[in-house]
Every structure is written in C-alpha cells, then in structure tokens.
Symmetry: C2
Subunit: 156 residues, 2 copies
C-alpha cells in the first residue's frame, strides 16, 4: 500500500476535481471570501483540461491502490518585474486527503516537484497559503519556505 | 503648503519613477530578492505610460508646491476564480517620500482611491506588502485591512 507518485492523466481529472473541492471547502470554512468546492468545480476542471498537456505545468497525483489520495500542481512562469529572478517556480495547489496525511505523501510529491523545477533550472520557488491555515504555513516552513509578502484584504 | 491630491498627468511620470526607485531600493534593503530602483526604472516607466490613460487604473500624486511627494496606484481587475468577489480593487503602489510622512498625505491618497473604488462599485480591496515592512503592515491595518494570504519563497 505504498503511495505511487506520478504525472496526472486525463482520466485522473475527476478525482483531482473532487480533492480540490475539499480544499476549497476547507478554505471557505476559514473565510467566506473563498468560494465553496461546488462553486469552483467547473472552472477548476476547465483549468485542469487546459494545463494537463502544457509543459509549463506539472500536475502530480498520489495513487494508493486505485485511489487518488492527493495532488500537487507546479508551474514555471515569469517572475514579477520588480524581482531579481527571471523565472519562478510556483506551487499553486497542494492537497492530501485527510486520512492519508502524515504518511509522507506530501513530502514525496513536493520532492518530485522540486526535481522537475531543478531540471528546468528554476532557482526560486513561490507559493501562497492562507495566513490562518497554520498546518499549511508550518508544513511549508518545514520544507524550507520563508515568509515573504503578506496579502491583505478589506471589505468596503 | 497643503498637499494637493490629484490624478497623475504624463508630465508627472518622471517624478513618479523617481519615487518608485526609492520604494524599490527600500525593498531591496529588506531582501536582495527585489530589484533595485535603477534596475526597475525603465520597465516601471513603460508600465506608467501604458496605464495612465487606462480607466481601470488610477494613479494619484500628492503635490506640495511644485514637488510630487507621493503616489498611489489603484486598479480594478477580475478576482481570482476561487474567490467570491467578482471584481477586486487593488492598491499596487503606495509611497510617500520620507520627509513628508506622518502629515496625512498617505491617508488623503488612500481616501481618494477609496472614493474611486466605491464609484466603480468595488466591494473588496486587496494589496500585498512585504511581511518584513512593519511600518507598511501596521499602516494598512490602521486603514482597515486584514491579513489574508501569506506568500512564501524558497531558493533552490
């Protein structure tokens, strides 16, 4: 029952959308500013269909037996003009289903993404995490990420 | 010697670029990950020339006598697909020259931007600030902004 980390195929999209719905619902519990999974599912499916064959993206899934238990999405894009790096590796999505956490699946997917970034000569990684998602912030710090910018919001 | 807040004109671009260079150099002192003002000036000038007549942007300057002592840039754009708001008002730049701070200039420019956002029926504002820029973070909190997402980075 070891997890198997691999590049996602079109046939994984349904499973990834379901995991993303859990991720969206988790965020919506933190803050009603986020859409629920039911509201984002269609748009996210279209996004996956668009990027799954795009070489600037890598969608990874963790498979245990026949079940997809987690997914990570990495992308390589141009850095913001006010930053030194020419290109930046971004981790846009990272999710492991609750029952399968603390088993090293996240670390395996992260390491696989790191290798992909290094193969593409990416020197700098960025990601965003909700500041109130303490588990997420701590996990990324453990992986070597440092706090950089704070996104703030205000309702009018 | 009251500051006069107004929409920027093309003839203000040189002054705004000089202020932006100070802002960039301030960030570069925090972290070498940011470009210096000398490195960003040309690109920023082109950006200003592109947006100065774009109705989705408002560039404000604070003028005291003949001197431009600060500038703010606001923009209205589509929200990220995973968020509830349909459109978001963003404050992309905010700077007041050192000798003119604590005089209410920042507040006057912020209030002017707020009015513009409200006229355009914007209900949600976002901005990013370096997490180590304590003066900035505290100023935005005072204006009513709340911490939302944390951008993290890592060098490979």
């Amino acid at each position: 029952m070891y997890p198997f980390i691999r590049k996602a195929r079109s046939s994984d999209i349904d499973a990834i959308v379901r995991l993303n719905m859990q991720l969206a619902d988790y965020h919506r519990k933190i803050d009603g500013y986020y859409q629920s999974g039911a509201q984002t599912a269609d748009g996210f499916r279209q996004f996956l269909e668009k990027i799954i064959d795009d070489d600037n993206y890598l969608i990874l899934v963790a498979q245990i037996k026949d079940k997809i238990t987690g997914y990570f999405i990495g992308t390589i894009s141009e850095a913001k003009p006010f930053l030194v790096p020419q290109k930046t590796g971004r981790i846009s999505d990272a999710f492991v289903e609750k029952d399968f956490r603390k088993s090293g699946i996240g670390r395996m997917m992260f390491d696989t993404l790191l290798n992909w970034f290094k193969e593409h000569r990416v020197k700098h990684l960025e990601l965003s995490v909700d500041v109130r998602n303490k588990i997420g912030v701590e996990a990324w710090k453990k992986y070597g990420f440092q706090e950089f910018m704070l996104k703030m919001k205000m309702d009018l």
